[in-house]
Each structure stands twice: as structure tokens, then as C-alpha cells.
Amino acid sequence: MTEKPQSDKPEIRYVNLYEPEAKIYTRKISGFYQRLRRYSGIPLVALFALLPWISIDGRPAVWLDMAHEKFHFLSITFWPQDLMLLAWLFIIAAYALFTVSTVFGRVWCGFTCPQTIWTLIFIVIEDFCEGDRNKRIKLDKQIWNAEKIARKSAKHFLWIAVSVLTGITFVGYFVPAPELVSGLLPHVTADGNWGIGLGGWPIFFVLLCTGMTYLNAGWMREQVCKYMCPYSRFQAAMYDKDTIYVQYDAARGEQRGPRKPNEDYKAKGLGDCTDCSWCVQVCPVNIDIRNGTQWECINCGLCVDACDSVMDKMDYPRGLIRFTSETQLTTGKYRIIRPKTIGYAVAMLIMVVAFSYRLSVREPLGVDVVRDRSAHLFRLDGDDIQNVYTVKINNMDQQEHTFIVDVKGEYPFRIINSRKVHVKSGEVYSLPVRIAVPKEQLKGEENKITISATSVETGLTAAEESTFMGPSHD
């Protein structure tokens, strides 16, 4: 950060406003929170990896089909017009994140965030190839010999392998996974050359996701949390005096300092902290928790594990660094039920109930009516006034339906070219409809009509209002 004074003007000193981030070498640690992280991470990764391979009704269980603008989720198919539901789903998810952050701090960051989990996977690989913290520091400092090359290339090879699998899996949510994987395998094509059966875009996105995984989990790591992620900043704003997060019990720990075993350290005026610096060495964001709460902290609890293991060795009680709230730290009291959490819980409940209700009453049928705008009205031989409409029947149900189209309004409207239409599942059927009304009976120039489509099989029905234009009467 600081540079040596320049020779001619010794009194001026410069500081760098940009600086290379120091590489973080995390020490391997085991303990309760590391186990918790592993056992929450493994099912999540397994879910992520396996979900694209599960099929329901002959299609992937979760399939974000961009080409056909449909999101298949288990047995429900979402159409573009269900965008509001998707928006509400995200709002509820964000709100849940805030609720959890208010109570337990940034546990999402520390335990479940993909960035954290993939970083953990990459660190496990790093540890496997290069050894623990001290060995890695040494390896990075030493000259490039055969061993260093072998260890480094093994690490990057495994990193890239994991990245490729991640990339393929991720794209597997957009392109059905079996199709994607068979499309990626080289085979002899019709013209006799070697090739792969996949278009440019899926390959581009597989490569992009692979590259991003490698870059984020291998190289960027905590930089993403510190400088790119908006959620980490949001969550920090949710903290209050009763939020539980990793804290150092300064009253118990200070005065920190080294001591000999079985020494009466309290007589020397020392606290429980042995100043072993393990809590700093295990930290994935390289902070010293003993300096107090810091914005970089992802609440992962690794320093708690590190400190507890030292406390065990020293035969001191655990919890010098622990998950606790500011109030609890000073008064020993903790309340989980407080006005703020009740408010969050109630709001959460209302949103979830409203969302579930909306989802349950969702009709898998859409009717859209487009009036012919070319002519004010239609008039052929006879006593009728006619208007022409294109009725778009969108069958979002899982099975085929036969629909009858009907019209209702103030006057005796009737459909001239009425017929039944078969609409396949997922099809949008355009049916031109000519609606007539006797000239003498039509009084208004602009008349409201309601055009409906009703399934013959199930009675599933949807309607849309439109306007019937008549001659002007002035």
C-alpha cells in the first residue's frame, strides 16, 4: 500500500488507490459448522446435478425452454403470460432472504450460496493437489520445478473438469440434458466428417458457464462477494442488535496473548484468546473477526470451528468466537420473537398464501380476441352487420381439448362460421370468427361483447371482452 519515499522529494509519500488483492490461503479446519456446510452443500449440489436428468410426463422435470417461451416446472407449465407469478416468486424469495438475514445474519452467504459451495469444492481440490495452507504458501514461493508443475496442472485440470460438468449441468436446465450430452459427443455426421450434433448457442453457453465457474470459484472467490454481489450488501442492511452472527467475545478474550500450558494466565492479566491467529487463517474472506463485525464477513462460522478446536486443546470453554447477537453478548438475553420478526413472518405468510392461492386457481387456458382493424364494420348482402375477429385459443393444459367458441352481448349476436376446434396441448390456435347481428336491433356504435372458449370435454372456459362496431347513428 505504501511506497518508499522518492529520492528527490523525501517528504512526499504515495498510496496506491488500486491494489492487487492478496491471495488468500485458507487453513483446512473441521468442526461443527464445516460439517454443517458440507451436509447442506452436498444435497444442494446433488439436487442441482440431478434435476435436469429427472423427467416427468416425458419431458424434463425442470426445463426453462427459451425457444418455445415455456417454463416447465414439475407438472406445471408456465407461459409468458404467467410472468407475474415468476416475479412474485422472486419477490418472495428475496423477502425470505431478508427474513433469514434479520434473524441469522448472512447464513445464506456462508452455507448455501453457490459461490460459497463451489469455492469450497475448489478449495477441497486445491487442498488435495497442493496440500494445506502452509504447503500452498511454500509451493507458490518456490521455483517452478517438476513437482510444482505437476501439482498446479493437476489442480487446474480438476478445476476445469468440475467447471465443465457445472457448465453442462447449468445449460441442462435450458436444453434437455440427455439431448445436450448426446449432442456434445462427437460422432460421424451424415457427410462423413466428425462433428457434434449441437448448435452454436448451447455450446457457447456451456463454454461461458464453464469459464465463469472456473474464474469465479478458482480465481475470484471472495472478490465476487465483496465487489459484485448485490445481495450481500442488502443483507448487511438487515442486521440489527438482535441478529445472530459470528462475533468475538472481546470481554472474555482480551487481553489476548500467548501463554505456556498450565500457566495461570489470568494472573498475568490475559484473557482466553491465545492469539494463535487460526481464526484469521481459516477465514475465506481474510478478515480478523476479533476486530469486530466487518462487511466482508459471510457468516460461515469457520473461525468458530477454528477457535473451538483451540479452546478444546487449551481446555477452555468453547464459544470465544460464536454465533450470537449484540444484545446477547452484552446482556446474555436473546429474543427470537420480537416485533420485527413477527412482522417479517406475517408478511411472508401472507405472500406465500396469496401466491399458493393464485397458483391453484390458475386456469390452463387463455383466450385472446383480435378484432379486424381493416374495416370499421363488415356489410354484405342481407340484414346483418358483421364484425370479424381472430380468436386465439391458448391451450396451456397437459391434454388436448375440443373448444366451442361463443359470443355474448347486449344484442342478439351470433357467430356465422361457428365450428368446434381441436387444440393440442401447448398449442395456440387462431380461429377467425365472423359475428353478425341484425341491422335493426343494433343500437350502439360501439358495443361490448364477450367471446368465450369452452372445452367440450371438461368445461374449462376462458373469455375475453372485445368491441363490436356498428354504423353511426348521427
Binding site: 512526499i12 496506491n16 488500486y18 472478490q223 374495416a375 356489410r379 358483421q386 365450428r419 370468427v433
Partner: protein, 300 residues
């Protein structure tokens, strides 16, 4: 673009790039107050007694700025942007559109190829082909004929069995490709108003409407002398001239007494525009099949 505006843009853009680059590089370091503590982590800036802490941006962030500047320079060389500079790639929005349209044509060509050689009556029974036909009709024909092809005042109904120029597949194809012009001459100046009224009454009679018997009797003579050339002895019209059948209830301009008189007195001019200039033959083929299906099948 005039030279002035071209220069205006070039000078503004390049000045901005140079300025931004200068700001970026000039702010890599900050001088600290003389005599300050070397372990002090502030920048040395003091505002109203508030000291600015130095929390340096990561180096990769700085590098991203540099990459952005390089990108901007490369972009401005390759693409138009610097005033009237055309860019070395020769990109224009017009040829971009042309490329996209060509791609679209190539992408959809195969879907038309399937139907290109199928006979029109056979095609009219093909559900998938008729769905394409419907969309072609909606885009090109529905403005006049209505989305259902049912027609309007002056625009023929395509869903019935009555045809002006013939309703077999070849004739429909010809009508769409080449267009049709049909003219009913104005007979008012030739015949005089009296004979116009007589002829109108005769037409009302043969089409099964209420009529004045005396006038219609005179009208029959007028008709035989003047109208049979196009409408035929039996008044059933003929496809060659596009003269309509006058003995049925189908009317292009409504079959009221006043409208029929108007038609005879002032004549009618009608035109179906030729589509061969705007639509590919395989699209017209599909359209013809769709129009054919309107009057030949119930399920399209």
C-alpha cells in the same frame, strides 16, 4: 452528415476517451500529507475534519477499465461511430437487416419445400399446411377479405361457392399470382336514366327480389341488347370477364334497388392486386390451397 457534425462527434468522442484514460491513470496514486505516519491508512484527504480512508479498489477492477477503453477504441475502428467514418467491417443497419431477412428466408424455405409439389386440393386437407396458410392469409389478404375470408362490401366472399373468376385450383392460383381487374362500364350516359331504371328492375326480378313488373319487362329488352355480352344470355355471368352471376342472392355491392341502379348507372371498377411481385411462388401456392379450403372443407 456534414463535415461540421462529423468533426463535432469525432472531437467529442476522442476527447472523452483521452480524458477518461487520463483520469484513470492519474488516480492510481495519491500523495499523502508530509510527515504523516507511514502506517496510516488514509489517503491524506481531509474534508471538514473528516479523513478519507483508503480502501483501494482491486487491481482487476482497474484492469477492467483498461479493457473497456481498449474495447471502445477497437469498436470505433471496426464499426461506424466516429462521425462519418464507415468502419473497417463495412457494417450497416441495412445490410444487417438484409442478412437477417436472408437468414429468415433460408430458415423457412424448408417448411415451404414440403408443400411446394403437393396438389392444391390435397394440400387443403393438410392441417399443418392450412395453419401456415391461415397465417399467410392473415398477413396478406385479411385486410380486404376479412380474417375469415368472408369478404366485405366490394371485396368478394371467399368462403362460398360463388366465384367471379373461377374457383378451381388453377384459377385461384392465377388470381392471386396475376391479380384481377374487373370493370362494369357506366351505362347511364349510354342508355339514359329511363333504361337504367328498367334494367335494374329486370335484375331485381331475375335475382328473386321484389320488382316492378312493367319496368322489368322493358328491362329484359335493355338487358338482352346490352348486358348479355358479359353476363350471358342466362345472366349467370362468366369467369372470362369476371362478370358476376345476377340470378343469385350473392352481391358484391349489396343487392338493394338503389345499389343495383347505382351499379348500372355509374359502373364499378374493382381490382385484386397481383401478388407475384411480393410473395414467393411457394407461398402463393400455399395461399391458393388455403383459399380453396375455405369453400371446400369445414375443418381447416
Amino acid at each position: 452528415m456534414t463535415t461540421f457534425w462529423s468533426l463535432w462527434i469525432i472531437i467529442l468522442t476522442s476527447t472523452c476517451i483521452v480524458l477518461v484514460t487520463w483520469v484513470l491513470f492519474a488516480n492510481r496514486k495519491a500523495a499523502v500529507q508530509p510527515g504523516s505516519d507511514p502506517d496510516d491508512k488514509t489517503t491524506g484527504h481531509v474534508y471538514d475534519g473528516i479523513v478519507e480512508y483508503n480502501n483501494p479498489l482491486p487491481r482487476w477492477w482497474f484492469v477492467m477499465f483498461v479493457i473497456s477503453i481498449i474495447f471502445a477504441v477497437v469498436y470505433l475502428v471496426l464499426y461506424p461511430g466516429m462521425g462519418s467514418w464507415k468502419g473497417t467491417l463495412g457494417w450497416t443497419s441495412v445490410n444487417q437487416l438484409q442478412n437477417d431477412q436472408d437468414e429468415g428466408k433460408a430458415a423457412y424455405a424448408s417448411s415451404y419445400d414440403v408443400y411446394k409439389n403437393m396438389a392444391i386440393p390435397e394440400l387443403a386437407q393438410n392441417d399443418e399446411a392450412m395453419k401456415m396458410g391461415f397465417r399467410l392469409f392473415a398477413n396478406n389478404c385479411s385486410v380486404c377479405h376479412g380474417a375469415d375470408g368472408g369478404g366485405n362490401y366490394g371485396f368478394p366472399n371467399l368462403t362460398d361457392a360463388d366465384w367471379l373468376h373461377g374457383g378451381n385450383p388453377e384459377k385461384i392460383l392465377e388470381t392471386i399470382t396475376r391479380g384481377r381487374i374487373a370493370a362494369m362500364p357506366a351505362w347511364g350516359p349510354v342508355l339514359g336514366e329511363e333504361k337504367v331504371l328498367q334494367a335494374a328492375e329486370y335484375v331485381l326480378k331475375i335475382s328473386g327480389n321484389e320488382f316492378d313488373a312493367a319496368l322489368a319487362e322493358q328491362g329484359a329488352k335493355v338487358f338482352a341488347e346490352n348486358c348479355v355480352v358479359c353476363h350471358g344470355q342466362d345472366a349467370k355471368g362468366q369467369y372470362a370477364t369476371g362478370a358476376p352471376n345476377l340470378t343469385d342472392k350473392t352481391w358484391l355491392y349489396e343487392g338493394t334497388r338503389e345499389n343495383i341502379r347505382q351499379t348500372i348507372r355509374n359502373g364499378r371498377n374493382n381490382q385484386m392486386p397481383a401478388q407475384e411481385q411480393t410473395l414467393l411462388p411457394e407461398k402463393i401456392h400455399l395461399l391458393a390451397a388455403y383459399v380453396y379450403s375455405l369453400s371446400h372443407t369445414n375443418a381447416k
